[in-house]
């Protein structure tokens, strides 16, 4: 939380908007140049991921949740990711209007990103984008993913708390189990509580969640919510605070930092790999696999600036 006595400088939306474009569009070399020597935000910033299958009402839920966070006098930054068209690379980014419905909260900043090359429900350079927001005096940084599936694991390592949103409906549970969703979340939300089967779904999810090995472990709560009516948002907020508190008392900060940094470096290397393979001459793929492999690996690095 910020020092209440010192007035906080207002968010410079134009400057931050530009900086985010620079980092989101950056090649790995540029991203590294920005990050080089940067230790990360000195203050404690809470990072939260919101994920779940398409159509479960993630954006509306984020909108309600953001209001709860703002009510704690916290400055909130949100990154909302929508898919890019595989044909034109274009995208329609429509999530944000559900997130900043009032449109005039001084302490809220929302940025939409297209997934572009990312195939994991996230966006290019997402780790850098989140790091940049952290460095810009936000208290909470939220990221809403495209859908569910692979992104569970990727976003898992980038955030402190992962909220998985599901809704009642026959197919969802099966999909959830298949996608391994129930192994990654810190908090589960069953949205659209007014639909039939919502309460049963809460019980069902709770019964199949990973069970704590000891009393010290975190047992993911399952929250019944209705983003449309606003029900369950206070419970969700309380669950997040509880998770933050649990992390603070149970997780070693250095370990957490290492995990985060490992994910960030892996993301950079993966993106660098895409740069090299996408940019390679056709000739590279005419040689045998081992030779191509070594050529690609040799091409990954460049001298540190």
């Amino acid at each position: 939380m910020t020092d209440a006595t010192a007035p906080r400088a207002p968010i410079n939306r134009r400057a931050l908007g530009r900086a985010l474009s620079r980092i989101a569009d950056a090649m790995v070399a540029e991203a590294l140049a920005v990050l080089d020597g940067e230790a990360g935000a000195a203050r404690e910033v809470w990072r939260c991921g919101i994920t779940g299958p398409a159509g479960v009402g993630k954006s509306s839920l984020v909108g309600r949740f953001v209001n709860a966070r703002l009510a704690h006098k916290r400055r909130v930054g949100v990154v909302a990711i929508d898919p890019s068209s595989p044909y034109s690379q274009g995208a329609i980014l429509g999530d944000r209007i559900r997130i900043d419905a009032h449109g005039d909260d001084a302490e809220l900043f929302v940025r939409s990103l297209a997934s572009r090359h990312a195939r994991d429900g996230l966006a290019d350079n997402i780790a850098n984008v989140l790091a940049l927001l952290e460095a810009h005096d936000f208290d909470d940084v939220l990221v809403e993913t495209v859908g569910a599936g692979q992104s569970q694991y990727e976003v898992r390592e980038l955030v402190d708390t992962l909220i998985v949103v599901l809704m009642p409906g026959a197919g969802d549970m099966v999909q959830a189990v298949k996608a391994g969703i129930l192994e990654t979340g810190d908090i589960y939300v069953i949205n659209k509580a007014d639909r039939p089967g919502a309460k049963e779904m809460v019980a069902e999810i709770a019964s199949v969640l990973r069970h704590p090995q000891s009393s010290d472990d975190w047992l993911p709560p399952v929250v019944l919510a209705s983003a449309l009516g606003g029900d369950g948002i206070a419970e969700l907020d309380a669950a997040c605070e509880a998770h933050r508190a649990w992390r603070a008392s149970h997780l070693d900060a250095a370990t957490a930092r290492r995990t985060r940094r490992r994910a960030h470096v892996r993301a950079l290397v993966a993106r660098r790999l895409a740069e090299v393979t996408d940019g390679a001459d056709d000739a590279l793929w005419d040689v045998d696999v081992a030779s191509a492999y070594h050529a690609v690996v040799a091409g990954l690095d460049y001298p540190r600036r």
């Binding site: 908007g17 985010l20 690379q89 274009g90 980014l93 429509g94």
Partner: protein, 133 residues
């Protein structure tokens, strides 16, 4: 497929209370098909909100769709709001039912280009691409 807008970010917004949004949606789809990342605001957005989104999203252009006859006032208000957000360098386009007699007044208020409904989508995309090149 045409991709002349790849890498561009464009805000398509509906200021005021006018509820006719199909034109705006068709343009949004056409820009997307040309490779642009389009932020579409939905209905009833205030000029202040539009300017704020333009700044946060760091868009390359703002397109306003207005069919209520309030284009002169709404464009002026939006241009002023963009200035307050230090985003008055972002090109401003307007489409909808805009009488030709108002085109000059709009351009004096800071509009770069006015589009009418009889232009083809290709013409509109080309013109946007030319101005963002």
């Amino acid at each position: 497929m045409a991709t002349q807008l790849q890498g561009k970010r464009i805000l398509i917004a509906k200021p005021g209370l006018d509820g006719h949004d199909v034109g705006a949606k068709v343009i949004a789809l056409a820009l997307r098909d040309a490779g642009a990342e389009v932020i579409y605001t939905g209905l009833r957005k205030t000029p202040d909100y539009i300017a704020r989104v333009a700044a946060e999203e760091n868009v390359d252009a703002v397109g306003l769709s207005i069919l209520s006859g309030s284009h002169l006032e709404l464009v002026k208000l939006t241009a002023a709001a963009l200035k307050r957000e230090h985003a008055d360098d972002v090109p401003l386009f307007v489409g909808g039912t805009i009488p030709r007699g108002d085109w000059n007044a709009l351009k004096e208020s800071g509009v770069d280009c006015v589009f009418d409904s009889e232009m083809s989508l290709e013409q509109i995309v080309d013109e946007v691409a030319r101005r963002l090149a």
